[in-house]
């Protein structure tokens, strides 16, 4: 009896949610100058991944403030932010709530898992989404992994681009190493994706891969892995993962006496900003990045962020600043809150942000080239 009731309730709830959504998406109206436009943010503001989500939300706020204060602002943008705790279910709840509140588009989500969770619902409602960090290849794609999701755009590189770029740098001798060991986070789609694309390119370039191993997300102790890598004689270790785990891994590698090179992807960016990190262990590190943070505009943003929030931003935040403008510009050129018009405008994006020039390809990935960044003597640097 109870069971049936529960099913009935769930069905009713999902029907209601569906209704709310489709009403929202059909209710597009023309926007006049000076109108207030609501955009949403979904991402982790609490929980273990909140260190990624909070800078994103803050940067969106900063971007909106900069836009609203600018002389040629057409509309007044308002932000509605919802916490997901970094979980897929949380992302769905947050998304449905925002749709109910009448947002015209979303900047976010932050984590690939969230992106995958809201993917099909947001496509049904045609909610325009611009994400600055969900890098999983499949996030912008439908279930068949080939058709592009109509409404989902991202301003960061996808996992294939990251692994591919760093493998090429090894293949063409820009980074001089001969034997590569690969360590992959088996619980991270990001890490798996970057590994796959790295191996593909490395095999094409005849780069020798001597160790290939996986570690679970919960792994804190890497002594055993390090011993394997060191006995294999590898002179480079490729670890595509995010900066916190990287900082503990590099530390353990250096403690164990490993003197070789580290290769990574854009998840590495920010590794020197981990609180009180020992910078002396970071030398001979090469990783890809989506933007060059020496640019004046980026420096200006970083300072403004620090002044407003009294904390350091990271690469997620920097990317989110641009993503916010990409969405706002699309709303401006659509001159309407009609999702289809905004999506059409997003497809024609041609915007110069602080991190570079943005256009989208057929799969809604940015057409930007990646840069290879290095860390020398505990300082970021570039391969120019």
């Amino acid at each position: 009896m109870n069971y049936k009731k529960a099913i009935a309730l769930v069905t009713a709830a999902s029907l209601l949610a569906g209704c709310g959504g489709s009403n929202g998406s059909n209710g597009g109206k023309e926007l006049k100058e000076g109108d207030t436009v609501k955009i949403g943010f979904i991402g982790p503001l609490t929980g273990p991944t909140s260190s990624y989500g909070i800078p994103v939300k803050n940067s969106i706020e900063l971007a909106i403030e900069d836009y609203n204060n600018s002389a040629d602002a057409k509309y007044k943008i308002e932000l509605l932010a919802e916490d997901t705790q970094g979980k897929g279910e949380g992302a769905n709840t947050a998304y449905n709530k925002l749709v109910g509140e009448g947002i015209v588009g979303i900047v976010g989500p932050v984590i690939t898992a969230e992106g995958l969770a809201v993917g099909s619902a947001s496509e049904r409602n045609l909610t325009p989404i611009v994400s600055s960090s969900t890098s999983g290849d499949s996030v912008t794609l439908m279930g068949d992994k080939t058709t592009t999701r109509k409404n989902y755009f991202r301003t960061c590189s996808n996992d294939s681009m990251g692994g591919n770029t760093i493998a090429k740098a090894v293949g063409n001798g820009t980074v001089k190493v001969s034997k590569v060991a690969i360590l992959t986070n088996s619980d991270s789609d990001y890490s798996e994706g970057c590994t796959e694309s790295f191996i593909k390119q490395a095999q094409a370039d005849n780069v020798q891969i001597v160790v290939q191993d996986k570690y679970p997300e919960t792994q804190k102790d890497f002594k055993t892995y390090i011993e394997k890598v060191m006995t294999s004689g590898a002179d480079a270790v490729y670890i595509p993962d995010y900066y916190e785990i990287i900082s503990t891994m590099v530390k353990q590698f250096r403690d164990a006496g490993y003197k070789g090179t580290f290769l990574g992807t854009d998840g590495w960016d920010g590794v020197l900003s981990v609180k009180d990190v020992d910078k002396s262990i970071f030398y001979d590190c090469y990783y890809t990045n989506t933007f060059d943070d020496r640019a004046d505009a980026v420096v200006k943003y970083v300072d403004a962020y620090k002044a407003k929030f009294n904390s350091e931003t990271n690469m997620f935040g920097t990317m989110a600043y641009d993503a916010t403008f990409v969405l706002i510009k699309a709303i401006e050129s659509a001159e309407s809150s009609d999702p289809e018009a905004i999506i059409a405008a997003l497809e024609k994006t041609n915007y110069d942000g602080i991190t570079g020039h943005f256009e989208f390809d057929a799969q809604h990935n940015p057409t930007k080239d990646l840069v290879v960044k290095t860390i020398k003597d505990g300082q970021y640097s570039y391969l120019d």
């Binding site: 792994q219 055993t224 916190e244 530390k251």
Partner: protein, 291 residues
């Protein structure tokens, strides 16, 4: 030589598990409850050391002492506030309370310090000792030595001192011990203090070995140490130490020679196996239930 290096790696991780497992086992032996917040005590210990060294710029010695005392106090206060009122009620209520305390501490530190990891200060020279091709980091060596020394001191304390005798008496029969004039409340407090103090040491070793600390660090460590305690026979201190070392070595060997993706599976498999085959654990006594 890779083989022996892997054994050493396993033993040093196991040493840390053992320190935590001893905390579980002592509390179980005397208070007859599983303190699932014990993993969080370790996290608190690591954070106290971090705050004293990095934020207050205190010398290492002061920070370590502060961490041990802080954790011991936390253990005693937790027992007084959360567990003591439930003494005598069902073991399930105590267990749920312990889980509640664990969430409380985790989220408290999440609010205080944020979810971003902090880098633990360097307390000792990093580097490796190389003996005939066997590579051991100094920190691993320290972790193993500390475990052995702490277990030694603890065993001496429990078997040779008056307070230790009181503890054993309370563990055997709380009612009878009380009748003999032993202050049961103080004895339980002391147990929590010692167990949590050892947790602080484990927290510091954790910070030194992995350099990063976050409010979630106690969760997995706590679970693995709990398995170690069950493996050794919960309530038995030597058992907890041996159990910790076995779990550490099993984990290292799985990663090194089978597949790293199975390492957690093997550890939990050991738990299932031991519960099926020898539920009292390796060193556990089979206590007959008197009717």
């Amino acid at each position: 030589m890779g083989f022996i290096t892997q054994i050493m790696n396993g033993l040093s991780t196991g040493g840390m598990y053992a320190l935590v497992a001893i905390g579980y086992t002592m509390v179980y032996g005397i208070a007859k409850m599983i303190n699932f917040a014990h993993g969080e005590f370790i996290m608190v210990g690591a954070y106290i050391a971090y705050v004293f060294t990095t934020m207050l710029k205190m010398p290492i010695f002061v920070s370590v002492i502060a961490s041990i005392i802080g954790c011991a106090l936390l253990g005693v206060i937790t027992e007084k506030v959360a567990y003591k009122p439930l003494r005598g009620s069902g073991s399930l209520s105590v267990l749920i309370t312990a889980i509640g305390v664990s969430y409380l501490l985790q989220n408290l530190f999440l609010i205080l310090f944020g979810s971003a990891a902090r880098t633990f200060p360097t307390y000792m020279k990093s580097g490796t000792l190389n003996i005939f091709g066997i590579r051991i980091t100094y920190i691993s060596l320290l972790s193993l030595c500390l475990t052995l020394v702490c277990t030694g001191i603890l065993l001496f304390f429990i078997n040779k001192t008056r307070l230790g005798k009181a503890m054993r008496a309370v563990s055997e029969d709380r009612g009878a011990a009380e009748l003999m004039g032993i202050n049961v409340n103080n004895t339980i407090s002391l147990t929590f203090a010692i167990g949590s103090g050892l947790g602080a040491i484990a927290g510091i070793i954790y910070g030194m070995s992995y350099s990063l600390i976050n409010p979630y660090l106690g969760a997995m460590l706590g679970i693995k140490a709990f398995i170690a305690a069950v493996l050794g026979g919960i309530g038995n201190i030597q058992g907890a130490m041996v159990g910790g070392l076995i779990i550490g070595v099993a984990e290292a060997f799985t990663i090194a020679y089978i597949s790293s993706t199975f390492s957690d599976a093997v550890v939990f498999g050991i738990l299932i196996f031991i519960l099926l085959v020898k539920p009292a654990g390796l060193f556990g006594k089979n206590v007959r239930e008197k009717v």
